[in-house]
Amino acid sequence: MKLELSGITKTFGSLVADDHVDLSVEPGEIHALLGENGAGKTTLMNVLFGLMHPDSGEIALDGEVLQFPHPGAAVRHGIGMVHQHFMLVPVFTVAENVVLGFEPTHRFGLLDRRKARAEIRRISEEFGLEVDPDAVVEELPVGVQQRVEILKALSRDAQLLILDEPTSVLTPQETEALFEIMRSLAASGRSILFITHKLKEVLAVADRITVMRLGAVIGTTTPQTTTESELASMMVGRSVELVVRKEPARPKDVVLAVEDLTVEDLRGLTVVDHTSFDVRAGEILALAGVQGNGQTEIEEALCGLVEVVAGKVVLLGRDVTHATPRARLRAGVAHIPEDRVRDGLVVSMTIADNLILDVFDVAPHARFGARKLGEIKRSGDEKLRDFDIRANSIDMLVSTLSGGNQQKVIVARELSRPTTLLVAAQPTRGLDVGSIEYVHRRIVEERDRGAAVLIISSELDEVLALGDRIAVIYRGRIMDIVDPSVGREKIGLLMAGVTDDGRGTGPPIVTTAPGVGA
């Protein structure tokens, strides 16, 4: 199916999310839509899928101009969408999920499971999508859940498939498998719109690449005629450095020692399983792994936000396993939480207040229970300057800042205290390239100043760029701690639970829902 979007414009108040966007996708083409967060990709897809209505512009399928008042209309015209966050019912089987909303029934209105199963087998075989129709969705690995989403779209006879950031929850191997599926779908004449911000993937799988920036199409190119750095500068609007510059680490004494740490979730399932590692002053230990393998719980255990079932957390020789978050902050733990809007900031308060969120009641910000507003303002202005937070004044609400500047507020707050240990979880998630560069530089500086740094990230590029040593976690266990020089392939296998003997250890336990991203 041939898709043509012409002159699509969508505004939210004074913000122009999409500005006269033109885009065409040929039948059998994999078309990548590349851009940073806030470039207007998702808005454009929501318009295409009938979730939003454009202010102006036309959507044409095979030359016919159509309007989609709601997603149902888009589905009827052969458009399928695989959302970043899966829309599956976890306790249903694959077959039940796939037929949900379009259930085949017997004469008396009963669900025809046999027909549903047969239908899934047929589609699976046609496109090489291996899935057991009777498996319960919540027991499947994320990569397979995604296949179920694709199956769902195909069973509605989708001729154009929109994949919104499909690789953000996958291991490198799962990503490769997804690309195979995409290629076979394209070979069958279906069109694919692949939305992403990852340059390597675009070059690996796309036939054509359209780059968006600030709501406008910057240009369309092909993988054969472009390079990673060219795409990056198209995305950002200036040339960018894709590697983190850092000296070799000079590790000193052990600052953080985690011994046999075990954490359970609310259901009593073990999510961190007798894990041990240590981080030394002056080095960055990167904790790599697919999301939901216990990283979040390790982060929480280190910061005192979750109860530890067994094991010890030792900070500078002191057992802090059961210390309060406050005691740890005072002991020099700086914490950049995974979800900055949920855990790191009070977005309805001012920048000044957020900059002192964890030191608001101690000198020099307060005395005798009274806040010293003059001092808060003075130090706030200073941090605004030092940490390059782009805001007109510290009295602005944090909700008015961009994601990058919000993250800088957290970085400014956490790194302004004397730091012995920095725990940074997904420190650059959802940030633009410029802010990523900045945050990475600050983290390396903190290491060079002598702090122990633990980076928790599910982005392999980030792990490789920052880590002096890389610990790979899978199902709550550290599979191995390796040097970054062992390469992506090896780390990718460890992330999937495969050790040197080549055997997998089963599907990962999904402990947390994938984080909310823009």
């Binding site: 999310a17 709501g215 609007g237 406050r326 949920r342 308060m349 909700s399």
Partner: protein
């Protein structure tokens, strides 16, 4: 190039996050925080106007003489218009003069120097009625700012009134000692009642809404029990009537003996200033606000949420206790069953009307008191029932709490009214 990039790029993720969070389950705290942040003056003014407008329609459709005039709309259109106009006008004039005073009586007082008492009585009554509303409103408003939905104003008010009354009738030191003791007792009585839900929530996670509502019943019936037994029951009484406090425990009247307005007003003003300071300048209040706006971030930032929960409900209860104390020692002087009437609930609406800000709560309590005091006068002079004043109050709060509706009705443009937030807040 890069400058432009930053400005426009800045807004886009923010918009995205708003949409994303729109689907996330909301917490009470967010809702109440939004109540503080949304456009205040315009929505409130339009809400008051809407309340008066709906009130006018109710007068028209419920007053027989107006209805009669409308029956003759086609034969005597002039009569219809004038009867409608004068009836509604008279009612609202009485509402006004009954609560703030009659300009003519004021004029007479200024010219002759006589009749000041008469001129000032409406204001005095309004202030008298407003003080407990304001105090209890400050209490529940402070709770709302911290994300605690304290519905226990009634129980805490009774707790404060009982404690103050006990100190008031049991001992008889000079007023200079007796009054501070009563104030302390009133505060402490509320604190005890407020501590229970705070402690239970911090320890077991028991929801404060349920605990405080149940405590209202406990306190109401404890009061009846106390009033039918010693030492609370008035000697020689069979009914549930409390002992009268000694004269030394009675709050002194501040504008002469004939005007009932008393020290309670000053206590309310002092508490409003105190709460205002706490929220703006106090580290304790800052912690409360952080807990209320984003409990997750509060926890990560090392704020002790259990401690904040207990403390805020204790202070909230104490303020409600003071409300009970000021009405007991300032106006009634003895307890009766069901003491406090609806103040324990009206204070919730006052807090919402004032958007949980101290200044808003002061103004809100004055408005509510004026509508009540004026409404009584209106009932006496025009026969329009006091209930109309309650309807107007309800409609004002209704519009304040649903700014999306105000937006819809008055077609306001470019206002941050946050449609739909209310329902999410309550559903969470």
């Amino acid at each position: 190039m890069s400058d432009a990039g930053i400005t426009v790029g800045a807004a886009a993720p923010a918009a995205g996050e708003r949409t994303a969070s729109a689907h996330a389950p909301r917490q009470w705290g967010r809702f109440f925080h939004w109540m503080v942040e949304a456009n205040v003056v315009m929505v409130t003014a339009l809400a008051i106007f809407s309340g008066l407008f709906v009130g006018a329609i109710l007068i028209i459709v419920t007053q027989p003489n107006v209805l009669h005039a409308w029956a003759g709309l086609f034969s005597h259109p002039g009569t219809t218009v004038s009867v409608t106009f004068f009836t509604v006008g008279d009612a609202y004039r009485d509402l006004f003069t009954g609560s703030l005073g009659d300009p003519f009586v004021f004029g007479h007082a200024i010219r002759t120097g006589q009749g000041w008492t008469q001129a000032l009585t409406p204001i005095s009554e309004t202030l008298l009625y407003a003080s407990p509303l304001c105090l209890a409103g400050l209490g529940v408003g402070l709770g709302f700012r911290t994300g605690m939905f304290n519905i226990g104003g009634q129980g805490q008010l009774i707790g404060g009134a009982m404690a103050a009354s006990y100190v008031g009738f049991e001992i008889n030191p000079p007023a200079i000692i007796h009054i501070p003791l009563c104030i302390l007792a009133g505060f402490a009585g509320g604190v005890v009642v407020g501590f229970v839900p705070g402690f239970l929530k911090a320890r077991t996670g028991a929801h404060e809404v349920i605990v405080t509502i149940m405590l209202n019943y406990v306190m109401l019936n404890l009061l009846v029990l106390a009033l039918t037994t010693q030492p609370f029951q008035q000697p020689g009484q069979q009914n549930a009537v409390g002992r009268t406090i000694f004269g030394g425990a009675q709050l002194p009247r501040i504008f002469g003996h004939n005007l009932r307005v008393n020290l309670g007003v000053l206590i309310a003003v002092a508490c409003a200033l105190g709460v205002s300071w706490l929220l703006r300048r106090g580290t304790l209040g800052f912690g409360f606000r952080v807990v209320g706006a984003n409990p997750n971030a509060a926890r990560v930032a090392g704020i002790n949420i259990r401690r904040a929960t207990i403390l805020v409900l204790v202070i909230s209860g104490g303020l409600c206790g003071l409300a009970g104390m000021t009405s007991l020692c300032g106006a009634d002087y003895f307890l009766s069953s069901g003491y406090g009437g609806t103040v324990g609930f009206d204070c919730i609406t006052v807090a919402l009307l004032g958007r949980n800000r101290p200044i808003g709560i002061v103004l809100g309590s004055l408005l509510f008191a004026a509508l009540n005091v004026g409404g009584r006068y209106m009932q006496a002079s025009t026969g329009i029932p006091l209930d109309l004043a309650s309807v107007i109050q309800a409609i004002i709060v209704f519009f304040v709490a649903t700014p999306g509706l105000v937006n819809e009705v008055y077609r306001l443009r470019g206002m941050n009214v946050g449609q739909g937030l209310l329902t999410r807040g309550w559903a969470a």
